[in-house]
Symmetry: C2
Subunit: 881 residues, 2 copies
């Protein structure tokens, strides 16, 4: 029987799988198999790791033998010799588990260096300094990793040398000094471990391989395994690969290459080349890389091979590749390849080009585009090239993508007035309130000091598609003094800043913008997404302006119209306040009657804008005191109009104060307390719908959503108020009209009793913002203060208000969907919280089986794409089973 | 084959069951069967009802025949004739479904009256006015119920008559006027229905029976059936019973009787008697009943029978009975019997007397006491008799039982100072805050204008066992002006009021008090409850004073020690504030170190007071800003002590402001943000426990509870902070000590992920207050404003903060218990929210299988009793299965 193999050359390993070879080893084998010139080497399998552990942290004899056999083969292939000149074989040693595991051993480079081979390296490279610096680093790495000895003392030796000589950079250290340092490192090693630093590369290698196996057992790896449920039995593989050097003369060089242009997507190789250099030289900024044409000019044959291999790799991986390469004495090596990062524009072009070239199919193209990146196509963005020359002065949360440049305005009114005069304005506020809306509309961008991803500014800006950065706490905004202070610098209303809503960065001065592009490849992607998605994608929109925007972005209906936003308008808020401050039902009804025509007109506008598509209108939701005046002049004005004393109004305001308004008198509790509010709103909805149905000729079936429901009885009670009103108006109109009444599921109790509520509701719409608040007990207005501590301790890994918490909140969503449908198979189920626009959450909602998601208009394309991706993946998984 | 029977005389019906006879019919049959003289009559079965409905709302011929056969028998037994003088048989007709159903038909009395029999009734009673008034009422009832015609017009005829004559009371209307009214009623009937008012009692009867059957179909009955899931097929029975009259002369009379004294429980008949009168006369207050000895004097033979029957009834029903009786011409009838209402003292005595008399067993005695009523035994209460002469001037929510009388104090400081001088004080506040605690201790009672059953005042007062009424919105308390205004009356600090915490009533002046009694029958009950209960009963107590009280009431440990209450003390709050306002960790640690000795001392006191019983200490829970100073002088004082500017402090206070503090930085979030807080508390707990263990010689195993947990990762993170601290101190001490770390389950997400948290936690304690807040989205501080609308609309039938919502919150409790135990069979599970003291909730917790409940000390006996009752019932149910 043949001896069991534990060591495979890259050329022998293809197809053995990552279980045996680890991820890195499998990748090197794959590249080798398709003819990519990869520096030769071999993989020691994960099975060897397990044997090492079983044998009590010792590499069994037979494996040692196989390793040195492999080294022999590498020597033959490369024509180099391990541990000897004139052409010494140097190798790198890397760990490689089945999945990538940060916290495992670092890489050891240049193993094989000793007093003899270092000289050969110096000769071959014609660079003695390089050779001894490599030797110094090798000793340091070996000591640190193989002997698990802290770097501190050895680092200090270099630092002391620099200090003594007044050097600032490592590069100032001379060759002689490096030679001396190598000697002192070896001396230090001897004193510390009572043994010579091993000059025999075989000993170096066996100890390094053992160290990698041992690192599978270290504490960091252990806690990582626990966190991600990785079995100890998997073990890690070790990759030993010959080093290649691009600094071996003018027939050598190094560079990076993309198989296509990562910025535009154009199908031409995009690369940079540095002759007679190492990759590190590029990184260290010592030398500037040349245009790739220099490569072709200097080494035309090698360049030809280079182009061929790149195409082969792209054809093999079926995606644009990002590669590192090195030429050593005219021989080309690829050190690494991976799918290349690219701009959204490039991603689209590449995906469709690959389809047209027959390399991938339509579904694969849909999967290739990251939904989050679409945002940048929908908004004007800053020019990537120009951005490189700007450094952010502050960074906040990227609340609403896009870009905006303008002078600072410190109040909504100021923003509105100055914008009206033609100035470009950035509205900067400590935080925004509903009264700021007009100023937000007028501004190019919004920047707030406080607030999280679901603060007022963030939610409203996303709805408008307006660039917005929130929670930028390093920008101290003083609204009274009308200044913004960042560090030492004070900005006034005459200063210009640029805000990047996609990254959260804030720049001084103006940055060039690139416009949005919704046609061509983008349109092709959206058509394709429509074809494969199962979820319907609706938009959250409160006014016709947003609704029109939403339809432009492909929204298939309105999933949430928040009626409260309509009341903040100057003309209306006055009546709203009168309503709230009414002492009697009669007064309240009178004030509501004044609001009715406005509300009806708003709804009419929405219905006309949506042209027969579904519009889901939610009844008044926020705590009433949000509408109350704070300023004395406004209070006085109200007092006069209502013919009561200022004191009385103040009393009523004080009475309405709540300790925790988020859990107070809001949502349908308003309709239980004041049924006349629900009646007014139902009247406005149905009258508007009847009128729009007549005027547009399209059949309209209003959807009316009851917010904050806690129980079946509450739902029935409010539903009756609404349906009685609707039925009466429809009967009087003589028109035919069906309407649908459903509920938000945003209170845990509603989810827990969905098997009751589902009997009466025609639809459920998960209000995942509030559901997240209540399920976590996190006030979204306050959580931004303590969430950073949760991220830094890894208690939370993502903002639960941005991406749905599948385990907790998601459990309620699943449960309510299941139990609601059990009692009502026709129940229409969707989501209208902010999560409806988050790709990961959309995937979850699709898999839970919801009917639709609804998000702000600018997130509709991303949601659509995410829905299509989710469904394509789900179908593939079903196919596999 | 014999004809199927649809009509049963009471004497024939015993044992046929309430399915056939309805509840009322079965009861009458039962009384008859044990020889209680019940006015003769018969029941028409529920089957007849179903036939009536099948026959298209018509009583089938055979049933009509059986009805009149039964009437014949009643005539024979009573010696009266139906529809004829001189001794006419008059009957009542009542519905009677299987379960009592409000919303069904009302009773028709005196059916059988017509122009002839009314005269006989006048003659027999010697009271013509009575006879015609009865006739008038009968016509009205018949018209209203049988013909389903509104009463309005006929009521107006009487009202007009009174107005025209200047009468205020119905009793002023003369006989002649009543005779005239009867004629006009009949005329009205004729004009309305185009038919004569039926003078034939057979027609009257058949129509009345039909009306009862028909009422099973009416809308009110229908919605009641839906609400309580009562099947339509059950149908209703009809009871026809001969009328008896106590106003037929001096050999007649009426009265009410208790088989034992309902006030003291003494085993002697307690009754009132009114000769020659009807029950209504007593109710109308026209005549004052006589002592029962008058009955014996006037009708000794009847009285003897009366006493015998009462004993028989008590023996049969095995409980103290409350009965209505009538004597007609020397013949005794019992019209009704039921278990009599009694005071808590009486309830105890009766129950144990019944045990001693061999009528019931111990378990039954335990079941006989209403746990809610025990409260009145634990506190001094107002003298029942004296209360009768007081009318409440205002009523609030009965937040904490007991009674208190004193002069008004408008601030905690004032209460403390005046009480120290020997004044009896009632502390009246708009609402209380943690700073008021000392004032609350000093006061006899607490009255607040705002707040609900779980407001600060309510929770703290219950903990102290201090009489407290909250949310008394009709008492306008002006703390600045130091006045309390109720209606037009203004009370000042020199006015005395009396507050009844058991009813919520507030009285002017002082009311005599009765002291508490914890020995004798009470102690016997507690012993017995201990014997049968399964749940362990702990108390919520924060200070040794409360802990001692709790032990006195039988607490088996402390289930919740809220560490925050310790920080409100004058000496401590200053350090607490310094800690909160610290800018750096070092400053914070320094301030915490100053708090440490206080905290350790508190815990030491608790451990010593509990003498080895379990003490579960919860880490700091409330939002930090609760501790912050509001007043300028306090802020200045702090600024000086901390050597920073007032502005800086105000800035920090503003920064700490939260929009929804209940969902803000509190609970273990404090430990995530500031681990030094948890470290200090763990240090204090373990040091105190070690010292107490040494000093008391009792083994102590501290239980440390992490509040507001949201996830397994958070729990593990905080647990490590605590256990690292504990382990170190224990190791240093040289003593042996085990400790237990568990968590509150009070955030829905914790319940939903209990299958994860359970792996790491040693115990779960449901914080049902917060769990209710989050599950309903009800802020307990604000909900009292809108909950009244929820009660009046029947959306809610009880305060979810007082009795656990089994469907919603309870579902989470069940789920978390089940799933937590699945991963950790040793998980100890309890409740420490306010619900732990509510009997209905305790029953739920027992059935869910929790290990313990914890409630305020004064609620411990009630919880214990409720736990025993629940377990006895559960065992009985298991036995039945």
């Amino acid at each position: 029987m043949a001896e069991k193999k534990y060591v495979y050359l890259f050329t022998q390993a293809h197809g053995l799988g990552r279980e045996l070879l680890g991820g890195k080893g499998a990748g090197l084998a794959e590249m080798t198999s398709i003819g990519v010139p990869v520096p030769t080497g071999f993989t020691i399998t994960t099975e060897a790791c397990n044997l090492y552990n079983k044998a009590g942290k010792k590499i069994p004899e037979e494996i040692v033998k196989q390793i040195f056999d492999a080294v022999k083969e590498v020597e033959q292939i490369t024509g180099k010799t391990f541990g000897k000149g004139p052409n010494p074989l140097l190798v790198s040693v890397r760990s490689g588990a089945r999945v990538s595991m940060p916290g495992m051993m670092d890489t050891i480079l240049n193993l094989g260096l000793n007093d003899e081979t270092v000289k050969a390296l110096a000769d071959n490279s014609g660079n003695e300094r390089f050779a001894y610096d490599s030797y110094r680093r090798f000793i340091l790495m070996y000591t640190n990793i193989v002997k698990e000895h802290p770097r501190d003392n050895m680092d200090k030796m270099l630092d002391d040398l620099k200090t003594a000589n007044g050097y600032k950079l490592d590069t100032e250290v001379t060759t002689e000094q490096l030679k001396d340092l190598v000697e002192r490192y070896k001396e230090y090693y001897k004193m510390t471990f009572n043994e010579e630093f091993p000059s025999d590369p075989k000993i170096q290698l066996i100890n390094a391989v053992g160290a990698v196996f041992h690192s599978w057992d270290n504490e960091r790896a252990d806690s990582y395994r626990k966190m991600y449920n990785i079995p100890y039995e998997w073990g890690t593989a070790v990759n030993v690969q010959s080093m290649v050097f691009g600094n071996m003369g003018e027939d050598s060089g190094t560079g990076v290459a993309f198989s296509r242009n990562p910025s535009t997507g154009e199908n031409t190789i995009y690369a940079e080349y540095l002759p007679n250099a190492q990759g590190e030289d590029v990184v260290a900024g010592i030398r500037t890389p040349l245009h790739i044409s220099e490569f072709e000019k200097r080494l035309p044959e090698v360049y030809k091979q280079f182009c061929t291999v790149i195409k082969e790799m792209e054809n093999h991986y079926k995606d644009m590749q990002d590669m590192e390469f090195t030429v050593e004495h005219g021989k080309l090596y690829f050190l690494q390849t991976r799918s290349g990062k690219r701009t959204a524009t490039a991603a689209l072009k590449i995906a469709w080009d690959l389809v047209d070239e027959g390399l991938i199919d339509e579904k694969e193209a849909v999967l290739r585009i990251e939904p989050r990146n679409l945002d940048s196509l929908l908004h004007p963005t800053f020019d990537e090239e120009e951005l490189k020359s700007h450094t952010p002065v502050a960074t906040g949360l990227p609340a609403s993508p896009g870009s905006g440049t303008g002078k600072l305005a410190f109040s909504a009114k100021e923003a509105e007035e100055r914008a009206a005069k033609g100035e470009k304005i950035v509205l900067v506020r400590a935080e925004t309130s509903p009264e700021d809306i007009e100023g937000m509309v007028a501004a190019e961008a919004i920047l707030t000091m406080r607030g999280g991803m679901t603060s007022h500014a963030a939610v409203v800006a996303r709805g408008m598609g307006k660039c917005c950065v929130v929670g930028c706490s390093s920008a101290i905004i003083d609204e009274e003094k009308r200044t913004m202070t960042i560090g030492d610098k004070v900005y006034t209303d005459q200063d210009t800043i640029s805000v990047n809503g996609s990254t959260g960065n804030v720049y001084e001065g103006s940055v060039k913008q690139v416009p949005a592009a919704l046609t061509g490849n983008f349109a092709r992607l959206m058509d394709c997404a429509n074809k494969y998605k199962r979820l319907s994608i609706r938009a959250n929109a409160d006014v016709p302006r947003d609704a029109i925007q939403a339809v432009k972005f492909g929204a298939e209906g309105i999933g949430l119209c928040r009626t409260e936003h309509m009341f903040f308008d100057k003309d209306r808020i006055f009546h709203m306040r009168k309503m709230i401050l009414s002492d009697t039902t009669e007064e309240r009804v009178a004030a509501l009657n004044e609001l009715l025509p406005y509300q009806e007109e708003d709804f009419y506008g929405l219905y006309m804008a949506m042209d027969g598509k579904n519009v889901n209108i939610r009844l008044l939701d926020p705590p009433l005191h949000e509408f109350l005046p704070q300023e004395d002049d406004k209070i006085e004005e109200l007092a006069q109009a209502m013919n009561i004393s200022v004191d009385k109004i103040k009393q009523r305001i004080a009475y309405l104060h709540e300790f925790n308004p988020m859990m107070g008198l809001r949502g349908c509790r308003l309709d239980v307390e004041y049924p006349e509010i629900g009646r007014m709103q139902a009247t406005a909805i149905i009258k508007a719908a009847l009128r729009a149905q007549k005027d547009s000729g399209k059949k309209i079936e209003p959807e009316i959503m009851i917010p904050l429901t806690i129980s079946i009885r509450e739902f029935k009670y409010v539903k009756k108020i609404i349906s009685d009103t609707c039925d009466k108006i429809i009967a009087e109109s003589g028109q035919e009209m069906k309407y649908h009444i459903g509920t938000m599921i945003e209170i845990p109790r509603a989810a827990l009793t969905s098997y009751q509520i589902g009997k009466e509701a025609e639809f459920f719409s998960f209000g995942t913002n509030d559901l997240t608040q209540m399920t976590f007990g996190f006030s979204r207005d306050d959580a931004s203060k303590f969430l950073p501590a949760y991220y830094s301790t890894k208690i939370l890994e993502q903002d639960p208000f941005a991406t749905i918490d599948q385990v907790g909140v998601g459990r309620l969503v699943k449960l309510a969907t299941l139990e609601g449908r059990e009692v009502n198979p026709n129940l229409h189920v969707g989501v209208c919280g902010e999560h409806g626009g988050d790709p990961v959450s959309v995937d979850f909602f699709n898999r839970v089986g919801l009917d639709y998601v609804s998000c702000s208009p600018f997130r509709v394309p991303g949601a659509k794409l995410a829905a299509a991706q989710s469904e394509i993946r789900r179908q593939r998984e079903l196919g596999k089973k």
